[in-house]
């Protein structure tokens, strides 16, 4: 699904809105999320997931082609973690017992 397919689907869900309005809405949403993350803020959408930013320390990298060592400077990167409801929806197609079993070992110590 692309941005324009999402817009078309939403326009069909909301026939009282014009396609241009739906486009403006979708742009406003992703622009707002981008602006928040650029400020260093989190975006938390319960049931869907959470976006945050993480700092990556400077490190000595390597050019994989030449093997040369290059300095990689410190940087801040966007990060997304899916919410519980969405994770469950994604796995719903799989056998219930399987999902329960694969979920069980990670009750504690959620990886961050």
């Amino acid at each position: 699904m692309t941005r324009s397919e999402l817009i078309t689907a939403l326009a069909a869900d909301h026939p009282h809105l014009t396609l241009a309005d739906v486009e403006r809405i979708v742009s406003a949403l992703f622009d707002e999320m981008t602006a928040s993350l650029a400020r260093g803020d989190r975006v938390e959408l319960r049931g869907f997931g959470a976006f945050s930013v993480k700092r990556r320390q400077a490190r000595a990298g390597r050019n994989p082609r030449t093997g040369e060592t290059v300095d990689v400077t410190e940087k801040t990167v966007p990060f997304f973690r899916a919410g519980r409801e969405l994770r469950e929806m994604i796995n719903a197609g799989m056998a219930v017992a399987e999902v329960a079993a694969s979920e069980a070992p990670k009750r504690k110590g959620i990886k961050r």
Partner: protein
């Protein structure tokens, strides 16, 4: 440092097209529902300027209970991957002022 939640996003819909607060909140939910349904069907979502959400199938592997050291099978499952677009990465790395980001 704040956190952007549904309230803030509904507010931005209100600001963009002037829908009522209630309608804005309902519309936001409808956007998230459409995205969730697509992902649940295994579809990926490509939002140009923002990033791509995709579902990856993970195979069965042997995990270990870190406390007891017991081997536990980790069954096949699907995980959601988000890859931020170059534009989002740059905005986050350089800190772009409000309103300067247009996608």
């Amino acid at each position: 440092m704040g956190t952007l939640t549904r309230a803030g996003l509904a507010e931005s819909i209100y600001a963009a097209v002037g829908l009522s607060r209630n309608e804005s909140a309902a519309l936001l939910e409808s956007v998230l529902d459409r995205m969730k349904t697509a992902l649940a069907e295994g579809d990926s979502i490509k939002i140009s300027g923002f990033g791509t959400f995709s579902v990856r199938q993970k195979g069965r592997r042997i995990g270990r209970n870190p406390k007891t050291g017991d081997e536990v099978p980790i069954l096949p499952r699907r995980v959601l991957i988000f890859r931020a677009s170059q534009i989002l990465r740059e905005a986050v790395d350089h800190g772009v002022p409000d309103g300067a980001v247009r996608s």
